[in-house]
Structure formats: C-alpha cells, structure tokens
C-alpha cells in the first residue's frame, strides 16, 4: 500500500500496486484453505466450525475490498464506503431478520 499516495497524485484514481494484489491473493488463498481444512479434517466442533467459516469469509471479503477494490483509497466524501455500509446494514437485516422470524416460526409449530 506504499504506492497509495503516489498514484493518488497522478490521476486521482488509485489502483494499488502489484505488491498489494499479490498480498491480497495470498491472503485470500490462506483464508480459503483454513475453513476448508477445518471442515474436511473435523478440527473443531460444529459451533466453532461455523464460527471459523463465517469469520474467514468476512475477512476474505475485507481482503477483496481493501487489496482488490481499493476501498481505503477513496477520496472524501467517501460515497462508496457509505453506500457499502448501508448495503451491509440491509444485508444483515434481511439475513438475520429472516433467520430470527423463521426460527420462531418453527418454535410455534
């Protein structure tokens, strides 16, 4: 991410460097392999495994955002980031809300 300021000055667009792409790629592979092995080799119990899968997935999403989509290098006002946070809020509401409602639906039956 050292080239961040440099490329900023040139065009106002920032697209990272080869280094940041390689770091992102390696991190993505590692974050894919960890949950994969945890599942295939039964490293943990069920609850922990779900936790590991979710945490590594979210981390990998952040890796994509930071190293590939360069969300940190946006100029102010950060409309991209703001709309992304809005999307995350909607996503969590829809997914967690659905699970919540349907869980109680099952309890009622």
């Amino acid at each position: 991410m050292a080239s961040q300021h440099h490329s900023h000055e040139e065009t106002g667009h920032t697209h990272g460097s080869l280094k940041s792409y390689i770091i992102g790629f390696v991190l993505s592979i590692v974050l894919t392999i960890i949950p994969l092995f945890a599942v295939l080799n039964d490293w943990f119990n069920r609850t922990t495994t779900i936790g590991v899968i979710l945490v590594t997935a979210v981390l990998q999403f952040l890796v994509q955002l930071i190293f590939f989509m360069h969300i940190r290098e946006e100029d102010k006002p950060r409309y991209n980031l703001i709309s992304l946070i809005f999307a995350a809020l909607l996503l969590l509401t829809i997914v967690i809300g659905s699970i919540w409602i349907m869980t109680y639906n099952k309890v009622a039956v």
Binding site: L40, I50, V95
Partner: protein, 204 residues
C-alpha cells in the same frame, strides 16, 4: 455520450471534466452492486431458512462433490487476481498486457461456469432437481444466480476486450475496465459466501 462530452471541451479542461463524468459513472455502477447485494441477501436468507427442508429427498451432504467446488473456488479466486493484473497493465499503458489478463480472467470464468454446469447436471442425474425440495430450489436459485452473473460478466468482458483492441486505452475504455474489474471482484466476494455458507456448511 461520454465522448460527445469530452470533444466539446478544450484539451486542458477536458481531462478534468471527463474524469469527473467517468468517475460518476463508476460510482453509478457501485450503486448497482449495492442493489445486487440486496438481491443476494434475499437469496442467502432464503437458502439459510430452507436448508433443512429437504422433503425426505436427497440432502446436500450426500451429493455435493467438494473436489469440483474447491477447484472452482480457486479458479474464481485466481480470476479475480488476474483481473487486477489487467488493471495494473492498463495503468502502465500496456494494451497487450491488458487484453491478455482480461482474456485470462474471462477464460477462468468460463471454466468456472463449465464446472458449475457439470455439477448441476451431476446433481440432477442424482435426483436433486430444482423441484425436488425447498432446499434444492433455494440451492439452485442462489448458486444459479451467481453463475448467471459470472456468465454475463464473461460476455461483457469479451465485449470490452474487442473494444480495447479496436480503440485502445482511452478514458472511456479505462472506465469500462475499472467497472468490469470491480464487478469481477464483487462476484468473487459473493462466491466466497456461497462457498462458505452453502458448500462448507453443508458438508461439515
């Protein structure tokens, strides 16, 4: 539209005005992806809620072959990386490199779709069609919608490759490459969650 705009200005101002318009278009595409997140949220929510409703039919654990899925995952991951390399080539003004890496990304996407279609055919042969149970309906809708996005991306990327070959690296083609590469990273991000929530949690 964008070209008409740029031609109307003098050269000095042109770059700035053009850049504003192009980055506005890029932001517009970002907003499309936000709405796409909502689409995928509903599909994920549906899948998670219905995952136990197999109606006495086959369940995911029995039929899903992880080897193919693992290969697809790494193919898409690499493809996301190579679309980033395309962007780097473009910023260096390397037209050949740009076309090469875009083509590599599109071909990786194509092999991903090939594996996915094979997987679906295999599943249907094993008796798990979209109408078999609520689980499989949710499964095919979620995974299939992602596959459809990737397929559209391949066609789109091919069109951009042709355009770059004809027109070279211009502010307009630059913006288009920026957008397709965002889209490609986005699809990889969605796949991470498909892989985690559908496949990994199904076979664990």
């Amino acid at each position: 539209m964008a070209q008409a705009h740029s031609n109307a200005h003098g050269h000095g101002k042109h770059d700035h005005g053009h850049h504003d318009l192009e980055s506005l278009k890029q932001f517009g595409f970002w907003l499309f992806m936000i709405t796409d997140v909502i689409l995928f949220s509903t599909l994920f929510a549906t899948f998670i809620v219905l995952r136990d409703n197999t109606a006495g039919g086959p369940i995911g654990t029995d039929l899903i072959e992880m080897n193919g899925i693992i290969i697809s995952t790494f193919i898409l991951l690499t493809s996301s990386f190579t679309s980033g390399l395309a962007l780097l080539s473009m910023n260096k003004g390397d037209k050949k490199g740009l076309i090469l890496w875009l083509a590599v990304s599109a071909l990786l996407g194509l092999s991903f779709i090939y594996l996915e279609v094979n997987e679906f055919i295999h599943l249907v042969h094993e008796g798990a069609a979209i109408s078999t149970s609520a689980f499989w309906s949710a499964f095919y809708t979620l995974v299939g919608t992602h596959g459809l996005h990737v397929s559209v991306g391949i066609v789109w990327m091919t069109a951009i490759i042709i355009q770059i070959a004809k027109r070279g690296i211009t502010p307009v083609t630059k913006r288009k490459v920026n957008i397709i590469s965002l889209y490609w990273h986005f699809l990889d991000a969605v796949w991470i969650f498909v892989f985690s929530i559908v496949y990994l949690m199904e076979v664990m």
